[in-house]
């Protein structure tokens, strides 16, 4: 990061570094693991630093998350290409450790939600994470994912339906309702 001029460095620290949590959280959910997420989030932050001269104001969080997302997809393409090829196929679940059966017997509500979310294709998972965990507006999600707003809305709708059925298949849905 030393290649930044001092004034750019200060701006980067002021504008971008407050969103390190958002960067890590998105990586963690896209890559389904903390260790990989830490490496990729770090790489994304270094890239953000290199690209910072191209940032001319606006929403720094969306700008950073766009880079994080691209870095995550590059990593997935290289390391787990199968996950990306399955996207948008609502009949196929990812080969995650979670199936409705394992979800039902896990007993831990939080763990069941994590597993259910991880069974979603990455492109559904990301809109849910951005909306529900990061609190992004449709417009921000559209900027981060480079999708039209209409597609953001329909992806969100399908993602929610899939997640809901993954959880509804579990016999213990009532337990989640009470958390």
């Amino acid at each position: 990061m030393s290649e930044l001029e001092p004034e750019d460095r200060a701006r980067f620290q002021e504008l971008v570094l407050p969103h390190v949590d958002a960067a890590f959280n998105l990586s963690r959910w896209l890559l389904r693991g903390r260790a990989d997420a830490e490496d990729v989030a770090q790489e994304a932050l270094l890239r953000a630093c290199r690209f910072f001269r191209g940032f001319h104001g606006g929403d720094a969080r969306a700008w950073l998350l766009q880079i994080v997302r691209n870095t995550c997809y590059t990593w997935l393409e290289k390391n787990r290409p199968m996950e990306l090829s399955m996207e948008f196929d609502e009949e196929i679940h990812l080969q995650a450790s979670a199936t409705p059966e394992t979800l039902a017997i896990s007993g831990d509500d939080r763990q069941r939600l994590i597993l259910a979310l991880e069974t979603l294709p990455p492109r559904f998972r990301e809109v849910l994470v951005l909306r529900e965990l990061e609190g992004c507006s449709y417009k921000e999600i559209a900027a981060i994912t480079s999708l039209p707003i209409g597609t953001v809305m329909s992806s969100l709708s399908r993602a929610r339906r899939q997640l809901y059925s993954a959880l509804a298949n579990c016999s213990q849905k009532g337990a989640v309702r009470e958390v």
Binding site: D21, N25, R28, Y164
Partner: protein
């Protein structure tokens, strides 16, 4: 039963993305569409489950440390090759500190700008301490040992306590320079996050805690019994205020 309205407006309505007119239109529709009403309940349940189970995962301290390490201040490399220039810089710095010192004599001049500048220096000192490499200090959980070491090094007496029982573990103490003068620093750890408490003597009256954030770090500053304290960390403001209360309540 499928509803045409559901696909086009339900998500937007639920997420608060519809214009007022569209939202009112959808609400009128909702009064006599069981399908949409049920879907809305499901959406609400799902959203609640996602938020209540706290799935958000903040960055681990190790990632923050790595990132902060990239913001190490640039060393004055010219010092080695051009000693004369270095002397001039040292003299200029000394004058600057003298000017700051004189300016500080008048407490009423102490403005928010000054507080922000001070916080900036302290945050930078905290960030430096997170980087690998030797630090002038002592690593110990023993408050007496840390206090003894700091008393000798800092030239002023300061209170040192461990609050391990309530989750703030004393990890040691060190000396640093802020605003051109020696300050003592206590290192605590809380929920895996390092906290530095900078302490120095002051002539100014006691204050209640003032808080702020800078570069993603939180700080809390207060004065008590002729000592000024400034705690800085990437912990939450509430956690820092908790430490402030623990340190202020001690005899």
């Amino acid at each position: 039963m499928k509803c045409d309205f559901a696909d086009s407006f339900l998500q937007g309505y639920f997420d608060g993305e519809l214009s007022g007119r569209r939202a009112a239109e959808f609400e009128r529709h909702l009064q006599h569409c069981d399908h949409c009403a049920d879907e809305l309940v499901d959406l609400d349940w799902l959203s609640g489950a996602l938020r209540l189970t706290r799935l958000y995962e903040p960055a681990p301290a190790s990632l923050r440390r790595t990132i902060n390490a990239h913001f190490r201040p640039i060393e004055p490399a010219i010092a080695v090759s051009q000693p004369l220039l270095w002397h001039w810089l040292a003299a200029a710095t000394a004058l600057l500190f003298l000017a700051i010192g004189l300016w500080k004599v008048s407490p009423r001049l102490r403005s928010d700008d000054y507080q922000a500048e001070l916080a900036g220096e302290i945050v930078e000192a905290h960030v430096r301490s997170l980087q690998p490499g030797p630090i002038s200090g002592i690593a110990s959980h023993d408050a007496g040992v840390v206090q003894g070491w700091l008393d000798r090094g800092a030239g002023f007496a300061l209170p040192v306590r461990d609050f391990k029982k309530v989750g703030f573990t004393l990890n040691g103490g060190r000396l640093d320079v802020v605003e051109g003068r020696m300050v003592a620093v206590l290192g605590y750890e809380h929920n895996g996050r390092p906290i530095s408490v900078f302490i120095w003597p002051t002539q100014e009256p006691d204050t209640s805690p003032r808080t702020g954030s800078r570069q993603g770090f939180q700080w809390v500053d207060w004065r008590k019994d002729k000592m000024e304290f400034c705690a800085v960390s990437d912990a939450t403001p509430a956690e820092l205020e908790h430490l402030n209360r623990l340190m202020s309540d001690q005899p």
